[in-house]
């Protein structure tokens, strides 16, 4: 186990800078998830940590040592790939043992270690099978086993659950989290799925266009997004972003509704964020009123898409007595749950 530090990390391809001065400290034993849309630079960052991509400038430190010039094998890391990367011509045992090829362990020690890892992952009975005799989830366990067997300082996961179906993904998510609790290793996990990020991470690093947008705990990035990108990226369905303007006493929405909240930014164009679950359907006295265009029943709740003065707003309604499409409804909100952003820069205003 070890801490990991990225200092002013920059990556350039053919004079095009794709990663811009990334700075991050990952504590020993911490589970950090990089999340962002395709092409945001999260996998490139991970590959630079692994030593599979050259660092253009800046440093990668593992356990306090700068590893920029070290080969991947000398960095004391292990990586689990999206496509599992388990060798189809080898049995599960040989695949797991592959990570120990360069180890100085005796044969007996290696065997014991393989059995131990297989036991942790529940793969003992599959040790002599070939990968094509395993399910997707079992293959992913073998890939994790191959990484675990070396007991590395840092585990790197590159979208390892992307190829699994929804049910299996949920199950593996839980298993990886349990595994982290058990072995207590430092983990850097890359995903484009914000649900994975929210459920697994100690801290989330949200990236866009090669820049870190925000670093924080799942609760922080959800409840206090740094900008409109984070506000919309984290949470499903996305946060509603509404046009507004600052007044002396609070904000005025584009509908004319006045709300006493937020920073005093008199006359300034603002973006007001409100999560669907913070909007409540009320009989009377609400802030926003509109017609339901679509109702999506999810069982415990119903998502309603409401047309308010030409703008579509998503709200969460009761799952038992939901409004139907075509109904005119009124929505109320608690001003304490509003998020106020600068309309021009998209940055959150304190």
């Amino acid at each position: 186990m070890a801490n990991l530090a990225l200092r002013d990390l920059v990556k350039t391809y053919d004079r095009t800078e794709v990663l811009h001065s990334i700075n991050l400290d990952v504590k020993d034993g911490e589970f950090v998830v990089f999340v962002g849309p395709s092409g945001c630079g999260k996998s490139t960052t991970l590959r630079m940590i692994a030593g599979l991509e050259e660092v253009t400038s800046g440093t990668v430190e593992i356990g306090g040592q700068v590893v920029n010039n070290l080969e991947p094998k000398d960095r004391d890391i292990a990586m689990v790939f999206q496509n599992y990367a388990i060798y189809p011509h080898m049995t599960v045992r040989k695949n797991i043992a592959f990570g120990l090829r360069t180890s100085k362990m005796t044969r007996a020690q290696k065997e014991a270690r393989i059995e131990e890892v297989a036991g942790i992952l529940g793969m003992t009975e599959y040790l002599d099978r070939k990968p094509n005799q395993l399910s997707g989830g079992q293959r992913q366990r073998v890939a994790i086993g191959r990484a675990m067997v070396r007991d590395p300082a840092v585990f790197l996961f590159d979208e390892p659950l992307s190829n699994l179906d929804a049910q299996l993904r949920t199950q593996m998510r839980l298993e990886i989290k349990k595994l982290h609790r058990r072995v207590g290793s430092t983990i850097v996990f890359v995903t484009h799925d914000q649900v994975e990020a929210m459920t697994m991470a100690d801290r989330i690093v949200i990236m866009k266009d090669g820049h870190i947008q925000q670093i924080g705990s799942p609760a922080e990035v959800y409840h206090a997004p740094a900008n409109t990108f984070v506000a919309q990226f984290i949470g499903a369905p996305s946060m509603n972003l509404l046009e507004g303007r600052g007044t002396a006493s609070g904000v005025t929405l584009w509908t004319g509704a006045a709300l006493a909240t937020g920073p005093k930014a008199d006359g300034k164009a603002l973006t007001i964020g409100i999560r669907p679950e913070d909007l409540h359907v009320v009989e009377s006295g609400g802030v926003l009123s509109g017609v339901v265009s679509v109702a999506e029943p999810l069982g415990s709740e119903t998502l309603v898409y409401v047309d308010v003065d030409g703008k579509e707003i998503i709200a969460s309604a009761s799952g038992r007595t939901p409004p139907a499409a075509g109904d005119r409804i009124t929505l109320d909100l608690d001003v304490r749950n509003l998020h106020v952003f600068d309309a021009a820069s998209g940055e959150a205003l304190a």
Binding site: A50, G51, L52, E71, P72, K73, I77, A78, M79, F81, Q82, N83, Y84, A85, Y87, P88, H89, F98, G99, R101, T102, N132, G136, R139, R146, R150, N163
Partner: protein
């Protein structure tokens, strides 16, 4: 399976309405396809059949085109097998074809792997340069090969016969294309696991392209086993003759002993058959493995 049975049991509504309907035209098309395939098969097999047939004939019957000899004999086989030269030529061919096959498999896959998986300046240029040698016919290359062999003292040596076939442009091309199908994740995983580049090529990449290696092994072995022009030019010593060159020397200036040549050729097909049988299962297994991939 159940669906297939359903389809078989239930006649279609069209069939029920018109029970006398003639067989659909696709059956004629199928017949023509089968007929063409049969014809192709006959064309392929005929030379082989004539080779066996001639090997069972006496010399006076060789120019009769009858398929079944009037007086079948195994005398030619006895003569060829009792002739000590045949074993020498057989061994020469075996050594040369085996060594060139091993060499080609190693070097072609190594070059193909590097050109496919390593990014370096000029790699496309090198690949195109290698490919362009495919455009030059062997007959044109024979003269420079000969001059080179003569100056380096390689004539009448195994090395002299083998060196042009130790690496092939076709093999490099084939292996490069196959390595394209090997995901980089496998190689990167091995790199993280501590293998050096040569170990990654040998332990990870090579087992994943076994079907290509098997196909290349068959092509190269057959090509070298049956090679005639260059071994004929590169050797004057009968003890170094390969089988095709040796067989062509049967007979004298006045007459060619076709029955003996055909007998030697018939025997010489056996190793190629063995090579094919050994390697074809890798090709089939490769196809099966590809089918199982998620």
């Amino acid at each position: 399976m159940a669906i297939a049975e359903d389809i078989r049991i239930k006649p279609s509504s069209e069939t029920l309405l018109r029970p006398d309907r003639p067989k659909p035209p696709r059956n004629y098309a199928q017949f023509i396809r089968w007929a063409l395939l049969f014809l192709g098969g006959v064309l392929m097999v005929m030379p082989l059949v004539y080779m066996i047939s001639t090997s069972l004939k006496y010399s006076f019957e060789v120019y009769n085109l009858n398929l079944i000899p009037e007086e079948p004999t195994l005398e030619n086989y006895t003569y060829v097998l009792e002739d000590g030269r045949f074993y020498t030529w057989f061994l020469n061919s075996l050594i040369i074809a085996t060594l060139t096959t091993i060499s080609t498999l190693i070097f072609d896959s190594l070059v193909g792997y590097v050109l496919c998986k390593f990014k370096f300046r000029g790699r496309y240029l090198i690949f195109i340069a290698i490919l362009s040698t495919l455009m030059i016919p062997t007959e044109m290359l024979v003269i420079p090969w000969y001059l080179m062999s003569q100056q380096l003292g390689w004539l009448d040596t195994y090395w002299g016969i083998m060196f042009p076939g130790l690496m092939t442009a076709f093999g490099v091309f084939l292996m490069k294309q196959f390595f394209e199908t090997v995901p980089d994740d496998f190689l990167e995983a091995a790199r993280i696991d501590g293998l050096n580049e040569l170990q990654i090529w040998w332990s990870v990449a090579m087992p994943l392209v076994k079907p290509a290696l098997a196909a290349l092994a068959i092509f190269v072995f057959l090509g070298n086993w049956t090679a005639f022009i260059w071994p004929l030019i590169a050797t004057t010593d009968t003890a170094l003759y390969t089988l095709p060159v040796g067989l062509s020397s049967f007979g004298d200036e006045a007459d060619v002993a076709w029955e003996l040549i055909m007998t030697g050729a018939a025997i010489s097909t056996l190793p190629t058959l063995v090579v094919f049988l050994i390697f074809q299962r890798f090709i089939i297994r490769g196809v099966v493995m590809a089918g199982l991939k998620g």
